[in-house]
Amino acid sequence: MDKRSFTASGPVFAEVKDHLFTQYSEPHYDDSTGISREELIKGVDRILEEKKDTPPIKRKAELFSYVLMNSRIDVDPTDWFADHFDRAGDILYKLHERRRAEAGDTVIPGAKAIIELGRETGSFFAELDLGHVSPGWRFLLEKGIPGIMDMAQKKLKDCADERSALFYQSVITVYEAAALFIKRLEEQAKRMAEKYPEHQDRMKKLSDCLYSIRTGPPGTFYEALQLSYIFHQLIEFEGELVRSMGSFEWNFGRFYEKDLAEGRITREDARELISFFWMKFFANTRGSGNGKNFYFGGMKDSSTINIGPLSYLALELFYDLNQPDPKLSVKLGKDTPEEFRRLIARCLKGGRTNMVLINDDETLSAVRKRGVSFEDSFEYLLIGCYEPAIEGKETACNMCVKFNLAKPLELALFNGTDPLTGKATGIRTGTPDSFDTFEDFYHAYEVQLDHQLSLVQKAITDYESFWDVINPEPFISATFAPCLEKGRDISEYGPKYNNTGSMGGGLANAADSLISIKKAVFEEKRYTLEELCRMLKDDFAGQERERLYLKNMMPKWGNDDFEADAMAVRVAESYTSRVNGRKNGRGGIFTASMFTLDHCFELGHRTGALPDGREKGHYLAKGIGAMTGMDKGGVTAQIESVVKLDFTDIPNGSVLDIYLHPSAVDGEKGTDTLLQLIDTYFGSGGYGIQFNILNADDLREAQIHPEEYRTLQVRVCGWNVYFVTLNPEQQNHFIETTMQLV
């Protein structure tokens, strides 16, 4: 066999890169391969009508199968991977949305009303988050499609209860459909080989690969990549986003090393294949979406480091490709090799900041504390952005609740009424003149906090009990060994761990506002609480000087200030103790996270003026650190503040956003500096950290001349985008943040 299998003939990646970049934005299907989209949609509607009384999971399986059998497909003769089919406008996802709306309208109107009021008042954004689930990648790669089908068939034979039988039958239906779909791609690849003789070699290898993965578990690196990507596409078609692609090393390393040892591929070949593979993800978001992550680093068990030759190759390529997608989650622990760490630092310094660094040791403690077994703990991956969940064993549903920590403060100030909408959404905790001490006021804050959290937790719990009606998912469920074992879908709590995430945002705004009240009202007696409320209600109109006093003269979280830090720690505890361990609707618990993502904008728009000097409608703090622009003590002071939090009580994740001027990490010394900052943060018990290394002047230039800065990446929250694709508010946020860096 030719040793250079994937670089021997045909166009190389660099030649077809631009063409492949349009594969999802301008899809084309071969009309001879299936029925038109109109007919496909008609067919789906027909099944929905005919199978009205069929159990939802079975009906879902039939719909899935119908589309995969009948839709038009496409194989690009220049691509190494095949996956394209007409998803009929993501028809199953839309169906899932429809079912969710129906549940809210009919069976749980109370829950729906709570969620709507939460959104209107900016108290919380909540939804039944069925995504934020990672398939059991390693289970899939080990068993392959036929292996999973075999298991389902055996279990079906021995199973006595009807619910399990339904589940196994549905799994068999969708896996048969997947195998047949892959066969259709395989045949199309053969046709392409004939039609395009210049791509014959590539299409021949592709059709062989497709044959292998439908008849057995993957045996080569190429097959493992191909199977993973098809699953990514089919799971998303089934109705939910794939939120983690798993560990690049653990999933694919063994295949790569075996291929190398047995002379099937070269290092260059592997580089080429990964380039095509990763392009699939990039072509999906095109640098303006939230992206898909692979994780690197970490441990396989208490003594085995999850880093091998493939990790080094992939990180080198990640640098060279310089794409915002896929993004990386990097687990760094005390045993992570220095060479690996320096590769990470090189990426960050070179503007490849699309990664979050996770303190492996702290995260292992945090997930164990919330009930994950020692053995399972090593298998956590980062769902979405920074949220740890156990691969193939946990539905973490990390983003069900996006909670505004500043809203209970407004409710406490205005006696239970939201000042912007006038809605009486809180508890009557007393008029401003009724608080004699700061402790009285803090108690009111906690009462409001508890009330809002209880409301949203109740609403989510109600929705959760209808998940099996809203979106049964036999296809992804069968990659979860516990689902297959128990005969239960992920929507029927089949996984081992069934938890619900609750994100707390705006910690800085809540803490800074509380400290302002404590000092300016109760200690300095600069004004009464009533007077302060009036200023806030008027959005500081005619009171700019007082606004600046509150903004600049009061202590702020994130500056290593004892008082402000103590307040933030207190707020965090008030929040996490009302989240962690509370029962959800799926036999699991709520788990707390603290970050904001881009909800800092939308939640901020619905929040009035605050005692921290923030004006009405302005965005809230991003991440777990200081309010934007208020980290005046610099990076080290901010880190010293944030490590005062107990991250094992924030087991659904958090992130500290660090902004550095390029000169701070310049040269060889800069590489050391970057790693030393991370080491100090992690050594003191920090959790997740991510970087923007930017210069405000460059960003201003990019606003004026976007065409010259097309590839400038910025880290928005758990993902990177091209700066020029952001709206002006978001662009200015970055400029404001980087302005004070020297």
């Binding site: 903004k551 600049n552 080290t636 000169s663 010394k669 030393q676 900052l677 100090t680």
Partner: protein, 303 residues
Amino acid sequence: MTGLLSDIKRMSVHDGPGIRTTMFLMGCPLRCLWCHNPENLEIKKVLSFTPKLCVGCGACLKACSHGAHIMAAGTHRVDFSRCVSCGDCVSECYTGALRLFGTVMEASSAAEKLLEDRKFYETSGGGVTFSGGEPLLQASFIKEVMERLKREGIHTAVDTCADVPWEAFMQVIPFTDLFLCDVKHIDSERHREMTGRGNERILKNMRRLADIGAVVEVRTPVIPGFNDDLSVLSEIGGFLSGLGNITAWRILPYHSMGKAKYESIGMPYMMPELEAPDSKHMEALKKELRNVFDRVMLSSDLS
């Protein structure tokens, strides 16, 4: 005892090894035209005004009993000749536009402040740097601070122009791990033209530091038209190679970032507009200068 300082900056990475905190002390014997810390030249408090932060609230006018603040046509101006640096206006300014450089601090509280980032020093091999101004003008004060830091095992560096009496060095030598010394020109007359003083005492102090085997890193700001040609720099390199105790020689490109500071403290900026040497030029100089002195480095090279 107390010292007069203008600032304490955490996360400083260009003033010695690792991650450091730099304390800026006030007062300097030299008047380098390009100085980018002009607020530190005198041992006295200095008012600074940044117009872009001013919201025109007028609180400073009321607070000032010397008529140093003027509001004309909605624009706030400072008459620095009337300012006595009392700071009355600064405590009423909530915008950050007015700032008073010059804090009197006890040595013990200064040391506490400097220890805040000790975790970072330990991880990075960093520590504390005394800079300015010229820190050795307040040698007794920094000696007291350093004694405390050394008891805690913190690495210390003194960033000095070296134009101070040898006695000042003698006070801090037992507590200093590293001296960062500026050598700007070998020709004393040229030195006087651009810095206000000849270089005799500087060179003499450098030889004395060599004699006692102090660890010294030398820095040379590369100023276009003054010392940026190879022959001038080579002379410095030649002098340094004769000393034997120089661990590194960093050549740092001139930049005009200090200019705005002059305006904010009401001082004229006498340095002519110059183009900063670019990184290519600096790399080329470094390469050439290796022939005279082998440990030439740029700002962010590891020593």
